[in-house]
Amino acid sequence: MSKPMLKVENLSVHYGYINALSDVSIEVNEGEIITLIGGNGAGKTTTLMSVSNLVEKSGGRVLFREEDITNKAPDKIVKLGISHVPEGRKIFPQLTVYENLIAGTFGKPKMGKQKIEALVEENYVLFPRLKERMKQTGGSLSGGEQQMLAIARGLMMDPALIMLDEPSLGLAPIIVEEIFTLIAKIRDIGKTVLLIEQNASMALSIADRGYVLEIGHVTLTGTGQELLVNPEVKRAYLGV
């Protein structure tokens, strides 16, 4: 673990007159699972959005593999190998499930037909539901199915770094388990994960390190285990 793969330095974001993030610094090393936890409106989503450069930053830098991507076009950032599974699914409602998956491959324009088919199959194994719904439009899926589709679509580009924003939202416990197993598996094959979760205990238990965000500031950081037993975290985010 030499150089951090993704480095967020002193990031600040303002929405109009709201200061959503101030001076947030985060490091993600190659092959790690990093989790961000925090209450509603703490700025977790905003952090991911600014890595993808989908919100305007008022200060700070973002580095990916030592390349400055602070002001890089969003689509170019994706093409560096960063996949972003957004909050609220954002699937393409009029495209079929299959087409949604295909849309996920634009981050790797050179990907061959066979590779695409193989990835699609992989995702169908992971989420058999999607295979059943292959020809259905994305918009007609149930909430949870849409969430699965969003995750699968994010996996389609075979990214180096995958950023997941509340992947377990609206999913049944059994699927949530599978998602977490999957995240661990992704890490095990050498990829890197940046994870946002409301279910902090699950997230921390698989994470290598975690950051606690509060009203736009990083207030705590440590390994997953450290945070899991931290009384402050326990009280505020684990609900015990």
Partner: protein
């Protein structure tokens, strides 16, 4: 937990409900009885047909087969607005707020069926109009106080955080003075602390005599607040019973809880 009364009066009944989308059986022969005073949970894997089932109960879909009775009256083919007139209120899985209206106005719309002044009353400011407006305002503010959104009454609903938006939906539904309240994943996107607060609120409502049906994936929430639970899978009913029965059912275990890592202590 709501007290179990000895004489259970059925409020909302579903008989053999089916909903097919083309060849897809989203809901398949489901029977259900929700009684007065219940907090009734509906759980099941994703795509099991829970939301579809709610949509059928509230008139948004007409079922392919089967009937829905409310207080003994057949409401199967009724339009959503007619169902709402029967005082069945609901919230939506993907929020359907009036985003550009203030919180207070959102709740005032909820009072629509409780008032009846028409356009001419409004133009002429007749007594009916004045009475209605006074009633609407008073009632809406009362609900907002109760749910804890009073301070936000003049904020645009879309400006609130996710959790609060969910509450606005509940407040709006309460303004209908519903006989039954259907909540679709009210705790989604909330952290454990907020979920707990919501659970307490719902129990308080129940104590006040509201009957509630709730779809949730948060097992702590469901197991601790519901007195009866319906489990769906692939559109079919696996089980309807008490939390204790659901917890121990192996089929539910394998289809829904998995290893129990997430459902956690709630089911153990």
């Amino acid at each position: 937990m709501a007290e179990q009364t000895l004489t259970r009066v059925p409020l909302l009944e579903a008989q053999g409900i089916c909903k097919y989308f083309g060849g897809l059986k989203a809901v398949d022969h489901v029977d259900m009885t929700i009684c007065q005073g219940d907090i009734f949970g509906i759980i099941g894997p994703n795509g099991a047909g829970k939301t579809t089932f709610f949509n059928i109960c509230t008139g948004i879909f007409t079922p392919t087969q089967g009937r829905i009775f409310f207080c003994g009256e057949d409401i199967t083919a009724m339009s959503p607005e007619a169902v709402a007139q029967k005082r069945i209120a609901r919230t939506f899985q993907n929020l359907q707020l009036f985003k550009f209206m203030t919180v207070l106005e959102n709740v005032k719309i909820g009072c629509h069926i409780k008032t009846k002044s028409n356009m001419f009353d409004a133009i002429l400011h007749t007594p009916t109009f004045k009475r209605d407006e006074a009633f609407t305002t008073e009632k809406s503010l009362e609900i907002l106080k109760r749910i804890g959104l009073f301070d936000f009454r003049d904020t645009l609903a879309g400006n609130l955080s996710y959790g609060m938006q969910r509450k606005v939906e509940i407040a709006r539904a309460l303004a209908l003075d519903p006989k039954i309240l259907l909540l679709d994943e009210p705790a989604a996107g909330m952290n454990p602390l907020e979920t707990k607060a919501l659970m307490e609120f719902i129990q308080a409502l129940n104590a006040d005599g509201y009957t509630i049906a709730v779809i949730e994936h948060d097992m702590k929430f469901v197991m601790n607040s519901c007195n009866r639970i319906l489990v769906l899978n692939f559109g079919q009913k696996i089980l309807e019973g008490t939390p204790a029965e659901v917890k121990t059912n192996p089929e539910v275990q394998s289809a829904y809880f998995g290893k129990g890592m997430v459902a956690g202590e709630a089911i153990r």
